[in-house]
Subunit: 350 residues, 2 copies
């Protein structure tokens, strides 16, 4: 990382996102309003944390210099001191906020957008990281199976999401974002689970994610309450075909946008079933959503070791939504799906 | 808000944080990597969202102009078009990231740090907002009582935190951050709950927060497993005294730093019991942590309608931590505590 920063003409680098700090140090901060950062410069690496959070870095590598600041400081003077006169300093421009870049500029430091240096290192997962994502996927799969097995008419979205989240955490997830939506609510992929009760004839769209030992898994499966109607059956078939096409394209050298195009061409050919509201997916790892993003504007070519969610969907206002999501590794010989749960539309008792 | 922005010499204002968007529009976004913003300019207010998230703004006020952008865009061209030629544009400098301010600059817009305009409006809660915080506190209080009632020797931190979070969500919390720590782990206020089991003689430090209908409540209470030992009893008494002193200072016109000084002077006088690791607390409302922060560098005078957590603590490495936290309104006649749960050190069966 230090070599890459020097090659880019930077005097130093400051990583500030939770995930990059975890990547560089092995400890994942609980960040609130106070400044956290890992400083990489010629003399080695240092971590700057609030005094309140000294306990968080107790287990980090001994070679990491520790710098903590008192509640009377905002941490910027200590950060600038740690930079030791560096002027051109790489930052994660998708994480660092304007208040902090201005504070650095006021102290003679020039923040240079250089998030892609760290992002491209993080994007290529090694075997141990892939294994962690696979384990997180396993946890999510058990969560999905158990949720579908227990789902009953009259359950509210709110209660079901709460139960699943509680259970994933009891099984070791340190974070989790269940998004299980019923019937017409599933037509809005980012709806807030509420007091809507499960009814006969509903489609259930269940997107579950969990972080286990630092790495995320993220899967989506769907169900119908009672036998699937014509819309659900037809939509599921189109979405499955779109997912298969995007997975097939998930190979080293292929531009990220091509995976999006592969699914988009199929889901957009069925406007009578619903709308295409989002891209093919996103990279996943220490962050649930990380670059490269599988959207029309991403030209980045895929590399061996990258892991993506592949998650096309179709959403019909007033009816529901169907999405199918797996986590897929760009392997040396092609795509490797890290999850094993069948894609089948689950049929729940009505 | 538009008047305040014009008075500050701004041509327009762009709010980007979840909480400010909720404050201005009544809808709280689920923001991921895509740009969200509310634009305030002479011609009225507009919201810029990804097409994926159109469903999220369905219920917002009809007077709000809706602008959505396709997956092929990053939202910045649509934002700049919505700004209609405004040059000097106020932004929330503690939220907007460098990548976006640079993108704005590249299109001829000058982002001006102006988060305090919106923050100072948000800081003074009206009666309905205070009532919402009170309701969130009630939910947290029930969660604390039930958790202490059910806590048993051998329970793991991980399982207890998961259970509490699941239950708060089943009762309507849309977000929650339980941080219940046992024994020596409680000496680190931001420890990650893990596989540590509850043992006889432990101190339990239980910090629970929940968001209900948009507003947060945040309380901390402590317990001992079996009768409190000398350290726990003495520490609890000092922390209670410090909390009472800070609450007593929670009055209109008092600089925020004085509340910190009021508690700090008391906890720092007992170094044999532990360390003072943080300030007196923070404002609370749509965000769990929002300015003003009750730390030595905040000179902002308190105003009627502000609501703060008041949460001094003492932390003894190897032994544990005691913190007592309530949510307190700056009332016209002095402090009003919004929670009712006794501060007593709970004695659990051993």
């Amino acid at each position: 990382m230090r070599a890459a920063a020097a090659e880019a003409g930077l005097d130093a680098y400051v990583a500030t996102s939770d995930e990059s700090i975890a990547y560089l140090t092995g400890f994942r901060p609980l960040q609130l309003e106070r400044f956290f950062g890992v400083v990489l410069r010629e003399s080695g690496a240092a971590v700057v944390v609030p005094k309140l959070d000294e306990g968080q870095i107790a287990g980090a590598s001994a070679s990491l210099e520790r710098i903590s600041y008192e509640a009377a400081s905002d941490g910027i003077p200590e950060l600038v001191a740690a930079l030791g006169g560096a002027r051109s300093v790489g930052v994660e421009e998708d994480h660092i906020v304007l208040a902090r870049t201005l504070a650095l500029e006021n102290r003679g430091v020039a923040p240079v957008p250089a998030g892609s240096i760290l992002a491209s290192l993080r994007a290529r997962k090694d075997a141990a990281e892939v294994e962690q994502i696979r384990r997180a996927c396993e946890l999510v799969e058990v969560g999905l199976e158990q949720m579908f097995a227990e789902l009953r008419l009259g359950d509210t979205e709110q209660a079901v999401n709460a139960r699943v989240e509680g259970r994933l955490r009891e099984h070791g997830a340190t974070d989790s974002h269940p998004l299980i939506l019923f019937g017409e609510n599933a037509a809005n992929p980012h709806a807030q689970p509420g007091i809507r009760k499960l009814r006969a004839g509903d489609v259930v769209c269940a997107d579950l994610s969990a972080r286990l030992d630092g790495y995320w898994g993220d899967l989506t499966r769907c169900a119908t309450v009672g036998p699937a109607g014509d819309w659900a059956r037809a939509t599921w078939a189109v979405v499955r075909e779109a997912q298969a096409a995007a997975i097939e394209a998930c190979r080293a050298g292929v531009p990220a946008r091509d995976l999006d195009a592969a699914q988009r061409r199929i889901v957009e050919a069925a406007p009578e079933l619903g709308q295409c509201l989002h891209g093919a997916g996103h990279a996943i790892g220490l962050a649930l959503h990380e670059p490269p993003f599988l959207v029309p504007r991403t030209e980045t070519p895929l590399e061996v070791g990258m892991v993506f969610t592949i998650e096309p969907g179709l959403y019909q206002h007033g009816t529901g939504g169907i999405r199918l999501e797996d986590d897929v590794l760009v392997g040396p010989d092609g795509p490797q799906i890290l999850s094993t749960l069948p894609l089948e539309l689950v049929e729940l008792p009505s």
